[in-house]
């Protein structure tokens, strides 16, 4: 095998195009997971035990099966199911599959944040006669979410690195492009190196940024002063 700088430079623009797809998909999956994560939290706080139990197990199931299996299921198996079957385009299937998978992790992050809010905050809100909605929006969530921002950021990076899974169901992003190029010219090393470099270039600075955020929030919430 010989390394060719010529190939290396010529695939960069091609793969760069794929980068936007990767980023777009990451963002879409993340937004979906971030919003859907609240759904799990909401369900887990409903007063009906069977419902909580059912969805608790569903979330556990989704968390403990590989995202790749879920992607295949949504893309290949779901359309074949009678009545409820729908066939989706790869991009949508990837958003659903990865989004739902990661939403179960996000919900755990939210839950830890919510549980970290002192019980007295709920009681004071009740004593001031706030409505349930007002308690959540003005008192609980504004305290529960900020300390979890570093963790939420970490999931963004993890998700960014999981998005190439979508190439297996035909989403044409970086990995897919590199792979196609390799198959066509039998040159894998250069395009895959470019893909790896792009990932590194994006995830490393993001990780640093999150580290910084973490320090900032740790400082702010370090001493658990009774308010």
């Amino acid at each position: 095998m010989t390394w060719s700088w010529e190939v290396f430079f010529s695939v960069i623009p091609m793969i760069f195009k794929g980068l936007w797809i990767t980023l777009g998909l990451t963002l879409a999956c993340y937004l979906f997971a971030a919003v859907f994560g609240f759904f799990w939290v909401f369900i887990s706080r409903l007063p009906w035990r069977p419902v909580r139990w059912l969805f608790g197990w569903l979330a556990e199931f989704i968390r403990s099966t590989p995202p790749l299996v879920q992607l295949f299921f949504i893309y290949y198996a779901w359309p074949m199911m009678p009545v409820v079957g729908v066939s989706l385009n790869p991009f949508v299937a990837a958003i659903l599959g990865l989004g739902i998978h990661f939403s179960t992790y996000m919900s755990e992050v939210y839950r830890s944040g919510i549980e970290s809010v002192d019980k007295g905050q709920w009681e004071a809100s009740t004593a001031l006669n706030l409505s349930t909605r007002q308690k959540w929006m003005k008192i609980i969530l504004p305290q529960a979410i900020p300390p979890t921002i570093p963790m939420l950021g970490n999931y963004l990076i993890i998700m960014f690195k999981e998005v190439p899974l979508a190439s297996t169901i035909g989403v044409v992003a970086m990995l897919h492009i590199a792979n196609d190029y390799g198959a066509q010219y039998y040159k894998y090393v250069e395009p895959l190196t470019v893909v790896a470099l792009f990932f590194l270039l994006l995830s490393y600075p993001s990780a640093l940024l999150i580290n910084k955020l973490e320090k900032k929030y740790n400082r702010r919430f370090d001493k658990k002063t009774l308010a």
């Binding site: 007295g120 009681e123 004593a127 001031l128 006669n129 706030l130 003005k138 009774l226």
Partner: protein, 257 residues
Amino acid sequence: MEPIVQYKDVHKSFGQTEVLKGIDLDIKPSEKVALIGPSGSGKTTIIRMLMTLEEPTAGIIEVNGENLWQMEKKGEWVTADENHLRSIRGDIGMVFQHFNLFPHMTILENCMLAPVLVKNESKSEVKATAVEMLEKVGLGDKIELYPAQLSGGQKQRVAMARALMMRPKVMLFDEVTSALDPELVGEVLEVIRDLAKEGEMAMILVTHEMDFALDIADRVVFLNEGVIEEQGAPSEILMNPESERLQDFLGRFTSSR
């Protein structure tokens, strides 16, 4: 005068433990009542049920003659829902042992939040009242600070101002000086004393400050093991206690002083 709050044979259990074993208690408008008793006697639970933080296991609590924890639905009495509780809870206010200020808001915002959100009062009017209220508790120069920047005594005074902003007819004080350093207790008691003098608001104080209870209360209620053991005017309760348990209890206080 009709009582503003009535407890009728109220029981409360936590799991297997019955902490209140039939409480009957009337509070008249503007009356100041001190609840005393050993820890675990159920004092705090009594006021927490009135604030709707704990549901009684049995019995009735009435506020202004309205049943707090039950409501009538299609001719039957059922457990009150949040709407029902909200409609009555507005008359009750509470100050907590651990202050429970909202740490993500300034002191001024802490005081303004509920009147603006719950009572839909205009922001500028609420702000004026809040500033006035904070000046009254001696914190007029601190309104832009966050709770973490205050001492315990200052936090507790903010908590009182915040509760007063809702203009409750009954104010509950749950061991409000217990979490404070000894040198900060005085400033908090001073504010409560002023409130008591103003008069029109009923107050129920769960307290270990005997001298203070004697000083401001119209009536002292002694609780022991989930029942009201003795009650009466502060002078007769504290000077001439009848039951042995109360004598013991007070003895422990005087000897430790």
